[in-house]
Symmetry: D2
Subunit: 296 residues, 4 copies
Amino acid sequence: MDIGFIGLGNMGQGMAANLVGAGHRVTVYNRSPDKAEALVQRGATAARTVAEACRAEVVFTMLADDRAVEAVTLGPDGIAASLPAGSTHVSSSTISVALSERLAAAHAEAGQRYASAPVFGRPEAASAAKLFVIAAGAPEVLQPLSPLFDAIGQRTFVVSEQPPTANLVKLSGNFLLASAIETISEAVALVSKAGVDRQQYVDILTSTLFAAPAYQTYGGLIARQEFEPAGFAASLGLKDVRLVLAAGEQLQVPLPVASLLRDRFLTLVATGGGHLDWSALATLAARDAGDSDHSA
Amino acid sequence: MDIGFIGLGNMGQGMAANLVGAGHRVTVYNRSPDKAEALVQRGATAARTVAEACRAEVVFTMLADDRAVEAVTLGPDGIAASLPAGSTHVSSSTISVALSERLAAAHAEAGQRYASAPVFGRPEAASAAKLFVIAAGAPEVLQPLSPLFDAIGQRTFVVSEQPPTANLVKLSGNFLLASAIETISEAVALVSKAGVDRQQYVDILTSTLFAAPAYQTYGGLIARQEFEPAGFAASLGLKDVRLVLAAGEQLQVPLPVASLLRDRFLTLVATGGGHLDWSALATLAARDAGDSDHSA
Amino acid sequence: MDIGFIGLGNMGQGMAANLVGAGHRVTVYNRSPDKAEALVQRGATAARTVAEACRAEVVFTMLADDRAVEAVTLGPDGIAASLPAGSTHVSSSTISVALSERLAAAHAEAGQRYASAPVFGRPEAASAAKLFVIAAGAPEVLQPLSPLFDAIGQRTFVVSEQPPTANLVKLSGNFLLASAIETISEAVALVSKAGVDRQQYVDILTSTLFAAPAYQTYGGLIARQEFEPAGFAASLGLKDVRLVLAAGEQLQVPLPVASLLRDRFLTLVATGGGHLDWSALATLAARDAGDSDHSA
Amino acid sequence: MDIGFIGLGNMGQGMAANLVGAGHRVTVYNRSPDKAEALVQRGATAARTVAEACRAEVVFTMLADDRAVEAVTLGPDGIAASLPAGSTHVSSSTISVALSERLAAAHAEAGQRYASAPVFGRPEAASAAKLFVIAAGAPEVLQPLSPLFDAIGQRTFVVSEQPPTANLVKLSGNFLLASAIETISEAVALVSKAGVDRQQYVDILTSTLFAAPAYQTYGGLIARQEFEPAGFAASLGLKDVRLVLAAGEQLQVPLPVASLLRDRFLTLVATGGGHLDWSALATLAARDAGDSDHSA
């Protein structure tokens, strides 16, 4: 299949490579063109503009945030202006439900197809084609995409015929992660003030009821107080919690834990920790317990 | 070893049986004596009083709550009054840090030894000797208990020389579970209002970042809205959150998520749901979203 | 002075009448023109368009929300397109900080002047020229407005040279009101479950430490459970709390009580109470206490 | 009337003096006896023991906390052991609902009468007989106390026939004060980060909707950042919020704002501010906003 791929960050690199590896003709585009080199060596073609990457049956976007996706899709010479009628834009970025709705409308108006397919997984999973793909879109749009999703992920979940619903599910996953971080942080502040070793405590949790990747990853970072460099920055955590709350407001669903997380991330950002890993919420729990030794 | 075992509920049955199975002479006591029968058939001896069960080197207690443990230990003809000097009381119940401190003091005064050894695991794990034992106590007290812990559990974590610290760790685990329940509840309220199937959503979570027993168990109950009969009642959830908050206050550790959970459990109890499984917090999230269809 | 006045709702009526009464030539505009009649009888001139009302040295706007102010100001044939250079737009509506910033920029670009002057007070205070005016703007812009503020209010507070700051102060006042409502609601739920008469309780509060209009007004509504017709609807309360939170996020100020209020208002709206007075938050406190008798 | 008065702190001094001034024979007792001197000069008699102060028809207690009231009332040679049958204990201290219930039971068992009569007002109001008395008790117990309440206060509110209910109302008042403090703190953090002068902001509030003693007192302290010496220490604020939450749990009334306040006070105490005035909650709001300049 002729595929365009826009956005060659840590995640996009691996995803595009796996599409190349599955035998597709992939034209890649990145704002900083040097990111395309490794993919060209593997057989991809480098596009100099977004429009060039849109000469395809399917164009993926895997970008940092709403602003980037909006610019690439709806801006002048963007995807909506360039993609042939009948071709499909697959948006894999973590974006707001509201933007996803606007993309859906814009593509519909332009006679193009649109699907949302955000993913769960870190860059290593992207490289190894082990992502989980959360897909939403009309059945006739999703059906031909199925082999592409298989090329980048280990499993695809089709959650809705409405593309924005996949974005909602993705955002809710980040909300669950942030909640786990905050809760571990509070528990660690509690037991460590009673003298329990943080690492041992996290070992107990992750050996027993919480033997899950989320608790292992973030419990470990919190136990080791390893907040730099950020795997996912607190400022992005704040953004995603804001997007979850906005979705909750649109759907009229109160989310008290998300509200609490918003204030915590905002505190972290306001006190100079926006660049730290979002697990640095743990420094606030320690600080509020008067445990100056454990603060960042 | 001569062992007494007091409290033959779902958990205590399995633990006592495994101590018998490991070749120890076990004298069992339960307020309702019929619970002892199965154990007597396996080779245990039935005691008619707490005092009788205390003619031992080690006496375990595995009871429902502070009140029961206090009555059995500090009441007239209780363990503190009956256990020989030098023998050890191993408290495995989920009790408050404050009561554990009082037990430690009472046993010290009586020349007895005391260890805390609450466990993680459900009745099936207790039967299968697959519990995780969270032990705390003086090294010389814990050392001879090691084979007993091996008989009932798959792994022992020694977290402190202060017995109450094991109770703190156990309570913190229940806090983490309750937090996971609340967070899943909010997320499910959110995505299901957008039309996502609850069961599929939980499948996504537990296939990916949250592939942990806690999320599988409670996510499943929430997806199926299966809140009766209660595996662990909301009223007990409220009690444990209260104990965590009390421990936090004693140690001066603010726990905002625990505070939120306290209000949620209190709402559930006040509105008639105290007997439901604690995962029925999900009915509140659905109710507050105006999703009457999904409420209990 | 030649004055335009746009927005003749409950508040605007009184404000415009007082400007007429102070001897100014006032041209009034309202989307539904019949609202202008009473003012014309007092000596005002009715404009058929926004542009007509802009043939003035000063044009006031007193409209319902961001959307209305944005349409009237930035829309085609709006104030920014119609007001003579050097004339001043005085925005008295309760709008977002962000919109106030956009208005400031638009008027600056058009060579017009802009001041924010939201008010504290209810319709009766507007009629009686007893409002409190919260003004912000450049000194040279505000100075000539001083007699106009005196005509509509009992006192003017100049809080900043930046117009949006007056909007922030106004929003913060609504946040304080909503907080008082929620707190009274919780306290009333508590004492009334112990059998204390609600009205007597509110009398105690407002005779002693809380002898303030806010507590008298909302305490009374809560005691009498008088939530219809709404003086200020819960859906507007939700909007204003959202605007306060947005301002807090822009300024990086966490506002935990505002977050809690957001979830409460969202719950009220999601469960069908958006049209009730915002003091109907009291129905949630009663409901969560299992006090079905006291719920709306 | 023969009256005993136990507890001659800032509040008790004024109350006892006003009882003397109304012509009653007052026997006073304080743990530190020098506090009695001024009252003896006005005509009171000094008792050397609690029991001596109990040779009376009515004995008032005005003490610091539960512990003091429990010791004086239920301890050896305490009020319950010393007061003649048929005489009345009037408890004016701010104590827990639970302790008030225990006092009621103890006095009933001893054939004594018991009323709760906590007060609203500061030491100056106590001296000036301007307190507000919140009374609860059986009508036949309260009726003869009426002239005594008139001697110490400007108005008496009889809220219930159950004495502990007066304690609940008193505690709820402190909850409302703490809520006002927290809300003002958040609002001040918000507007001051936008450059608004704190004192002017508080002036606006207390000139308009919040022209109440509570907002004037605490708004002023927050504007001036005047947290020492404490009028009412943060550690006592924490205690009272804890008692409100305990009462809420007993009555099954969730109190989300009180939960938030508990965590805030606990943070303040854990980070070394327990001795500051409880209005020092404002330092947390400023700190979390990154406004280091305004923190304590």
